[in-house]
């Protein structure tokens, strides 16, 4: 039942690259990732690709297949004609590291900006009570496997590197929505989403929802309700009387909190000057004093909740700094990919 599959795979790195054509034997039932693995084992041992679960559960193997953003492990080869050439390119919105692997640090930096769940009290005794109907709304968003395909597809950042510092993207809008809908969360996150994370840039095109392999209704169930609640907040007399309109420095929730040095380390960011190992002497942790520099996070209080909604343009400084360390998008993948994606996007719009 097998056949020879013809494939075009983008090969290259940050300095450039182009398509390479292969012919690879494939079996019945196989997915694009199987074909890529066989290429690796038999023809191109250095072909770079990410994967883990091979079952659509980990979100590692995102790529663009014939222009369509998708998981390689969940794309059956039988969805193409046996004679059709399958073209695989890396996600376009992120800088290429090598071949099909991109630098998705952007997403991990954005994740830091979201203040953590802030419960009203401890649950040491298991005293939290929530009803199934109330958790279900948040659970839909927690299905997210962080494949970042939605981020890759969203036109606000796909070809607009300049928007990245101000825009968290659909994956993180649903993170805000999830926390906002959490029955026990005590923070108000509406303004943060709007003013710090660029919710306003989203014009509800729904392209993100189209590509989500988990079928999360990103726009309908996440972004739109969140936008509606933001509008409500703006005219909420309580908030106005609390003086939320004043622009304040955004409060940090935890040392992460979206600013300061990133705990997500990248190659070469370590100490360049070597401290001699021998001189390390007694451990800095030899006494009971904590050696970790930033102050431990304070449990957010109701006051924080209000204060943290009052953010300002100035609070973007942290994110802008992050953006600097981000590489520019990969123009090297070239027009070919853009055309493929465009074709897919047009087909998709026609369908609607």
């Amino acid at each position: 039942m097998g056949h020879q599959q013809s494939m075009r795979v983008w090969r290259g790195d940050a300095s450039g690259g182009d398509f390479r054509s292969y012919s690879v034997p494939v079996e019945e039932g196989e997915v694009v990732l199987d074909a890529i693995h066989r290429l690796q084992a038999e023809q191109a041992p250095d072909l770079a690709v990410r994967w883990n679960c091979k079952a659509g559960k980990c979100g590692s193997c995102s790529a663009e297949i014939n222009g369509k953003p998708a998981l390689m492990c969940m794309t059956r080869l039988s969805t193409f004609e046996p004679t059709e050439t399958v073209t695989v390119t890396p996600m376009r919105a992120f800088p290429v590291i090598r071949d099909l692997v991109t630098d998705v640090t952007f997403n991990y930096e954005k994740a830091r900006e979201v203040p953590a769940f802030a419960p009203p009290h401890s649950n040491a005794d298991g005293s939290f009570r929530m009803q199934q109907v109330d958790v279900e709304r948040g659970q839909e968003f927690r299905k997210c496997i962080e494949c970042f395909l939605c981020q890759n597809t969203c036109h606000v950042i796909r070809d607009h590197e300049e928007n990245k510092p101000a825009f968290a993207g659909p994956r993180f809008f649903i993170r805000y929505a999830e926390l906002d809908m959490h029955p026990l969360d005590t923070l108000d996150r509406r303004r943060m989403a709007q003013e710090d994370e660029g919710l306003g840039y989203c014009n509800i095109t729904k392209c993100c929802s189209e590509v989500c392999p988990e079928g999360i209704h990103i726009t309908d169930n996440g972004i739109i309700p969140l936008k509606e609640r933001v509008v409500d907040t703006k005219y909420d007399p309580v908030f106005i009387s609390l003086g939320i309109g004043r622009r304040k420095q955004r409060r940090l929730v935890g040392p992460g909190g979206g600013s300061g040095p990133s705990p997500i380390k990248r190659p070469g960011q370590g100490q360049s000057s070597l401290r001699s190992a021998a001189s390390a002497g007694p451990a800095s942790g030899a006494t009971a004093t904590p050696t970790f520099a930033p102050a431990p996070p304070r449990a957010p209080t109701a006051v924080d909740k209000v204060a943290s909604t009052a953010s300002s343009a100035a609070s973007k400084v942290g994110t802008a700094a992050n953006a600097e360390s981000m590489k520019t998008a990969m123009p090297a993948i070239g027009a070919a990919v853009g055309v493929g994606f465009l074709a897919w996007a047009i087909r998709k719009t026609r369908k609607k």
């Binding site: 041992p45 830091r112 390390a280 030899a286 996070p297």
Partner: protein, 605 residues
């Protein structure tokens, strides 16, 4: 020479699965300067794939449940070879660890009273698994990941540790560990971590088999690195073959079908349509297992007056039964047996309670599980064996080295119950993090990294580039997997194990001739595979050697030539150490359980 990128920490946690993240959070909260290092991106570790749930005797569904019952189930599931103290701590502390996840934002499925819902699983007397549909691992890893990021713990992702470092140039052997050596996948450049405490949380070994539910990450790095550094491994012969892996199409062979399918009412049938598990109830579990379909079916709603269905026997029993049915020619068209939920539950229930199974079969197997049965066969899933640790502190036998999660040994005895891994990760993750931080805080002096160790690690890592040999790393790996699958698999024989050991020797020789082709050190999977081979060969040899030594059948170790469970073997662990590449296997008496815990096994249930 050795001026690579370097970092100083108090505690370096190797691995960002459930156990590594929980350990890092604990070490950080205890005041240690902590880093997490992992091979994949954050949030992609194996833990993300766990489906069924987290076992914890919270008593939300069955108030009769408590830690004593959970402890007893765990020990019996492991055929009494478990480290009793670990099993006790695990049963006692699991509920608090689950509630803590909820405090950090996890959204578990609920009971009617709004508590965390709990589901049935094999070997657990009561419905005990906290879950979120069938994506519990995703909920757990995301919650811990978000917590760790919120605390600002440093993360080095796509960074692979290849060696532990010691003080005197012997890689930790005979002295304290002083750090670890790694390469960045992105650039291929090297890093040294200087840290007096290293917590290994690297997961399992399943990549050494052809049919496996495990990913490329499971090359047994932690097991092998600990062994090379002078630590000991416990009971490596015990490998769990999960009864229900997918068999068709070939590309998904081995992919896991969660035990929840059976927990939710699914049954196993052979080609005659018979529920064959009734023919395979072992003496050990007779008293608590239903012997007819009516009682088994009534159990789902009334646990008190009925005994549990045989489909929910511990995994080793079910896997062996399936294996026998297939061998006897009563298998399904593609060499499995049938797992049927379609005729037992409504389509809506199936889609709601097992959404990712529904999705997985629909997308990858062209099967609608609400209409048709699944075809299933055993798949390599979990290693019970692991680094020998102290039950309370998770300290390995080398100072400064800790192990937690699947890479550690003892907790699960000869067979792990479903759901007991996720809880294990949390309970011992917290303990490991705290004790490692405590160890560092109490150190009179920090160990210095031996430059010789760093140099040796760098040379070793670069060797495949300089190698004139012509071996393809992928080909060597494939041959290893095939030998392990056929010779050291679910049913073992003495002579086959001897052959396996000879083959492993041959493969080691071939591995020395592996050369790396292509464009250098940046994200070069051929190079990564070449390096992974070292650990895969080491753990494979450990498994085969221990399996050859243990001349009995117990839990995840079945010897065709010694089919009986031998009470004498029930008194000893097999401990493996290594010297200059030669393994030594020793028998070590089990720690003795105190009388009050022993009494729990005298009650009749």
């Amino acid at each position: 020479m050795t001026d690579f990128e370097s970092h100083d920490y108090d505690v370096v946690v190797v691995g960002a699965g459930g156990s590594g993240l929980r350990a890092a959070i604990a070490a950080h909260e205890a005041g240690a300067r902590t880093a997490i290092v992992c091979k994949s991106l954050l949030g992609k570790a194996h833990t993300v794939m766990a489906e069924g749930g987290i076992a914890a005797a919270m008593g939300n569904v069955w108030p009769e449940d408590n830690w004593q019952v959970h402890f007893r189930d765990t020990m019996r599931g492991g055929k009494m070879l478990n480290n009793w103290r670990m099993a006790q701590l695990h049963a006692q502390e699991a509920p608090s660890r689950v509630w803590e996840l909820e405090e950090w934002g996890a959204l578990f499925d609920r009971t009617k009273e709004g508590k965390i819902s709990q589901r049935d699983f094999g070997g657990h007397r009561y419905a005990r698994l906290a879950h979120v549909g069938d994506r519990t691992g995703l909920e757990m890893i995301r919650t811990l990941q978000q917590r760790a990021v919120d605390l600002g713990i440093d993360v080095f992702m796509e960074c692979t540790i290849t060696r532990l470092l010691g003080e005197s140039g012997s890689g930790g052997r005979g002295d304290r560990v002083s750090g670890a050596f790694a390469y960045w996948r992105e650039t291929g450049s090297f890093i040294t971590f200087r840290a007096p405490a290293i917590i290994l949380a690297t997961g399992g070994i399943g990549r050494s088999f052809t049919v496996t539910s495990n990913s490329w990450e499971y090359s047994g790095d932690g097991h092998a690195m600990a062994l090379w550094a002078g630590a000991s491994l416990l009971n490596m012969e015990f490998v769990q073959f999960h009864p229900t892996g997918m068999v068709w199409p070939p590309s998904v062979k081995g992919l896991l079908i969660t035990e929840s399918v059976r927990g939710e009412g699914g049954v196993l049938r052979n080609s005659d349509g018979k529920r064959f598990m009734f023919d395979y109830i072992p003496e050990f579990f007779k008293a608590e297992t239903a012997d007819n379909e009516a009682e088994a079916d009534a159990w789902y709603d009334d646990h008190k007056n009925n005994r549990r269905p045989p489909e929910l026997l511990p995994r080793d029993e079910v896997a062996r039964a399936i294996n026998s049915e297939i061998k006897a020619g009563r298998g399904s068209p593609h060499g499995g047996v049938f797992l049927d939920i379609a005729t037992r539950r409504s389509a809506e229930d199936i889609k709601r309670r097992l959404p990712s199974m529904y999705h997985q079969f629909k997308e990858l197997g062209d099967v609608d599980i609400t209409k048709d049965p699944m075809e299933v066969a055993p798949t390599c899933h979990y290693v019970m064996g692991g680094i020998e640790v102290d039950a309370d502190t998770e300290a390995a036998t080398v100072s400064g080295l800790y192990a937690v999660g699947e890479v550690s040994g003892g907790m699960h005895g000869s067979n792990r119950l479903g759901g007991n891994s996720l809880s294990d990760l949390l309970v011992f993750g917290k303990r490991a993090g705290e004790s490692a931080a405590g160890y560092v805080a109490a150190l009179p002096s920090r160990p210095a990294v031996a430059a010789a160790d760093v140099q040796a690690a760098a040379d070793e890592a670069l060797a495949p580039f300089a190698n004139p040999g012509a071996e393809n790393p992928y080909a060597v790996m494939k041959d290893l997997q095939e030998h392990m699958q056929s010779l050291v698999g679910i049913i073992r024989k003495g002579d086959e194990l001897e052959i396996a050991l000879k083959e492993i020797e041959r493969l080691k020789e071939r591995a020395r001739n592996v050369s790396v082709k292509g464009s250098g050190r940046s994200y070069n999977p051929g190079w990564h595979t070449a390096l992974d081979l070292r650990a895969m060969l080491t753990v494979s040899e450990c498994i085969a050697r221990a399996a050859l030594t243990r001349t009995e059948s117990r839990g995840g170790h079945t010897r065709d030539d010694y089919p009986a469970t031998d009470p004498e073997w029930g008194k000893v662990n097999l401990v493996i150490t290594e010297r200059r590449g030669v393994l030594q296997v020793d028998r070590k008496p089990l720690p003795q359980m105190p009388d009050d815990l022993k009494a729990l096994f005298e009650e009749t249930h």
